[in-house]
């Protein structure tokens, strides 16, 4: 929104928008409507295209879905706390674990990573917004509507019940007659489109919108990892899209893709799903790797050890991640050669991952460690991810994996890497960047409680699952019978109880986090400008950043640019040492003094939310009534044409004249 112009800078007709308005009057692009111009109130959020507002909204919605998915997990653990338990019926239990996984992966971890990426990627590369701000807004709304659509299945005949990988033919209408699977398929299509447009947007932003001097090898590691993730999304999503279409056509239009009576190959779904599903694993974990690669150097007060190795091992994970999908299918009878190839490839991918672990550890080595909550979460990631990684290596060994398949051992493994790796990494990010986004430091005392409760919670919940799995408790079974409980140290009853208690400890940790948010919001103490003595560009601006991010787009001279502006190397008694030459406030003052004139930011728009709204209408139509499809398609067409006809930067006439009667009608925010 904030289009900032210094009235004296240049005549109003010259400027980036000048060439546009030469042959079209933007405000009249579609007849007589006016653009949204609110800078306050709900409209400023609903019609915004500002990457920071969208990032916050992504975060808030994902956090909500995290709590939803968490409650589902607690219900699952309650059901499994005792033998032959009856908390959930068998059908409801199936729905619960399917929706728990789907919610946590597609509606929490992925969009939460998108929240961080949206907010910090443009800041870290020194840009004023993403490359396609309206598409960014569209992606958010479509994700939100997709998530809501998916969860309305609970009240419209039951949720999906086929497990998160929805294997065929189990997911056909014969075995899963409710509309749950239809909701699941269409809901994932919607969030998939949202992720796809987001991926294109962010790739273009990283590649094209970097500030002067921001070479690729000067990009912060978080930006690098986000870039790799977006490429994974770009190429993995269309494959799941195909699989979802095939399933949808089978369930809704009578196609035969997974009909074994017709000679269908049940492995088709598995291949398509896991060609998406394995890159998805790295889509989940790499943003968190990026976050802790920012957090660890900051709080170790050392540059990241082996920046290039960390970057390239991330890229290598991105590449090799495409060649390991069949290790999810070792038990399906692929044949010895295939199994051997995928087994070796899977072991291979442990190498770049190991490189990262080593580099993080060596970043800590010899550093002046500052144990903030963020730092503790980051160290927690190293520890817990390594444990999850080790059990992962045991899956790579095909004969051992055959024993582990479909047992709780698998559940233990992927929860260690997802909760211990990805989620803890996101929490490191919350504590690290909260002062940047909200100008409030999260409380460190509550933070300690948050960390230790979560850390013990993870180990108590998922640690015993290794034992349960190796004792043969299958995953996705609604009960474990008391006669199979076993005796002694390895009996199922004890470890299932421990796991359930652990899940509530974990939940308590999350609750402390929510309390922390409310507490610092009520207390309203502003945070210092640079509370962590941070290293990267996003800290070289106000907290929260102004709408245009940087008063002056910085010119980048080195990796960790902000740090090098604050510190200089001088010769000391024992060799060179770093001396602080400038404070963050002084650097900010320089920015303000040299502020750019003539900053044009994208204007808000009605179309992204309208376009996104068309999709759930169509999706409901596919399930319930084809008339809705027609209505949805009409809205879709209208929105696309409205969008295409609307120039991305608003015309002067769309703004109210400024109160001070100045020359420029675009002056909506002050630059100083």
């Amino acid at each position: 929104m904030a289009i900032i112009e210094r009235p004296s800078a240049v005549p109003a007709t010259v400027g980036p928008a000048g060439g546009v308005s030469a042959f079209v009057t933007p405000s009249k692009a579609l007849g007589s409507y006016r653009r949204p111009v609110s800078t306050t109130g709900w409209k400023s959020w609903v019609f915004t295209v500002d990457h920071k507002k969208l990032g916050i909204m992504y975060g808030a919605v994902s956090l909500f879905f995290f709590l939803v998915g968490g409650c589902e997990a607690l219900l699952i653990r309650l059901q499994l706390a005792a033998p032959d338990n009856t908390v959930l019926s068998a059908g409801l239990y199936n729905e619960m674990f399917t929706m728990h996984a789907t919610t946590m992966i597609f509606l929490f971890v992925m969009p939460m990573a998108a929240a961080f990426a949206n907010y910090f990627l443009p800041l870290q590369v020194g840009a004023r917004d993403v490359a396609f701000p309206r598409i960014n807004a569209f992606g958010f709304w479509l994700f939100l509507f997709g998530g809501i659509f998916l969860n309305t299945s609970w009240i419209l005949g039951g949720a999906a019940d086929g497990g998160w990988f929805m294997y065929s033919p189990n997911s056909s209408a014969l075995f899963s007659p409710s509309h749950g699977v239809d909701f699941w398929v269409l809901g994932l299509q919607l969030t998939g489109i949202a992720s796809l447009v987001g991926a294109i947007n962010l790739i273009v932003t990283v590649l094209n919108m970097r500030a002067p001097g921001m070479k690729m090898m000067r990009l912060p590691v978080f930006s690098w990892m986000v870039l790799v993730v977006q490429f994974l999304l770009l190429f993995a999503l269309p494959v799941i899209t195909v699989a979802l279409f095939l399933l949808s056509f089978q369930r809704n239009f009578g196609a035969t893709f997974f009909d074994v009576n017709q000679g269908a190959d049940p492995l088709l779904w598995q291949h398509l799903f896991w060609i998406f599903g394995h890159p998805e694993v790295y889509i989940i974990i790499l943003p968190s790797f990026g976050i802790i690669s920012e957090v660890l150097p900051t709080f170790a007060r050392k540059p990241l050890f082996g920046y290039k190795f960390v970057v390239f091992s991330g890229v290598a994970i991105g590449f090799v991640g495409w060649g390991v999908w069949a290790h999810h299918m070792f038990a399906s009878g692929l044949g010895p050669v295939t199994v051997a190839v995928f087994s070796v490839a899977t072991m291979l991918i442990a190498i770049p991952t190991g490189v990262k672990i080593v580099n993080w550890t060596l970043t800590l080595w010899g550093g002046k460690l500052w144990y903030t909550t963020s730092m503790m979460f980051a160290i927690g990631v190293i520890v817990l991810f390594t444990i999850g990684g080790l059990s992962g290596v045991t899956h790579a060994v095909a004969p051992s994996d055959t024993q582990q398949t479909d047992t709780y051992y698998i559940v233990a493994h992927f929860h260690y890497v997802i909760v211990g790796g990805a989620v803890m990494g996101l929490f490191a990010g919350f504590y690290y960047w909260w002062p940047k986004v909200f100008n409030r430091l999260l409380n460190e005392r509550l933070g300690r409680w948050n960390f230790w409760l979560m850390f013990f919670g993870v180990n108590l919940t998922f640690g015993p699952m290794h034992i349960l799995g190796l004792q043969g408790q299958p995953r996705r079974m609604v009960v474990w019978p008391s006669k199979l409980t076993g005796q002694g140290f390895f009996n199922l009853a004890f470890w299932n109880k421990v796991s359930t208690v652990g899940s509530f400890v974990l939940a308590l940790g999350v609750l402390v986090f929510v309390i922390n948010i409310v507490y610092v919001w009520k207390k309203a103490v502003p945070a210092p400008l640079d509370p962590w003595d941070a290293r990267t560009l996003e800290w070289m601006t106000a907290s929260p950043p102004k709408e245009h991010n940087f008063d002056a787009v910085p010119t980048v001279h080195s990796l960790d640019e902000f740090f090098h502006r604050k510190y200089e190397e001088v010769d000391g008694e024992h060799g060179p040492k770093l001396v602080k030459v400038k404070t963050a406030e002084e650097i900010m003052a320089e920015q303000v003094a040299n502020a750019d004139t003539h900053i044009h930011l994208p204007s808000p728009s009605y179309w992204p939310i309208i376009l996104a709204f068309a999709f759930p209408i169509i999706a409901y139509g596919v399930i319930f009534n084809r008339v809705l499809c027609v209505i949805g398609a009409a809205v879709l067409l209208l929105a696309i044409f409205g969008w295409a006809l609307e120039p991305s930067v608003a015309d002067d006439s769309d703004y109210d004249p400024p109160a001070d009667g100045g020359e420029s009608t675009k002056e909506l925010a002050s630059i100083v």
Binding site: G15, R128, A131, F249, T256, L272, V553, H600, S648
Partner: protein, 218 residues
Amino acid sequence: MSDIAVHDVPPAHDDTTAGHGADHGAGHGAHATATGLSNNKLAMWLFLGSECLLFGGLISTYMLYRGRHGRGPGPDQIFDIPLTSVSSFVLLMSSLTMVLAVNSAKREDYRNTNLWLVITALLGSLFVGGQVYEFTAFYHEGLGFTTSLFGSSFFTLTGFHGVHVTIGVIMLLSLALMLSRGRVTGDKAEVVEMIGLYWHFVDVVWVIIFTLVYLIPS
């Protein structure tokens, strides 16, 4: 696609682009990008990269199932190769007219741009018409969407391609209309070129589909 001038641009740049900016393809306002490629074009290439895997998945499904037609008609009994060759030729020729449209747009000759865009759209529609005819004929010969694995995967693959062509036709006609009404903002030649990229991609995919589905005997 929208492209925003979010960089700070000195006014001097604008004077150069206002005079003659189209050939440089740097987008309106000529805000320099870090790679030198325009945001819009880069985004279109990325989108097409993603589309490759979409069609990759559909083609793999078809290749897996093309021999599995049960008691229904199989590929060898049903394809009318001369007819499909003609419609393939029509689609390939539309790539040529698309090139001519892009070329005219680069010369800022928007009359001819419009002409070639409309001809491209007509050729595309002809192809889609051929596909509708072919689908109807197959249906009457006993190959429906639900008949067999071959039927489902054939109609899904070629149907997806047909939808892509149809969307392309809509884009071409909309672009021609918007150009003639002066509604295209920014670098017009680049907009034409981007839709051209999409169009050529859809053509190339058809070459692969035609070869794998129709020409190679099962």
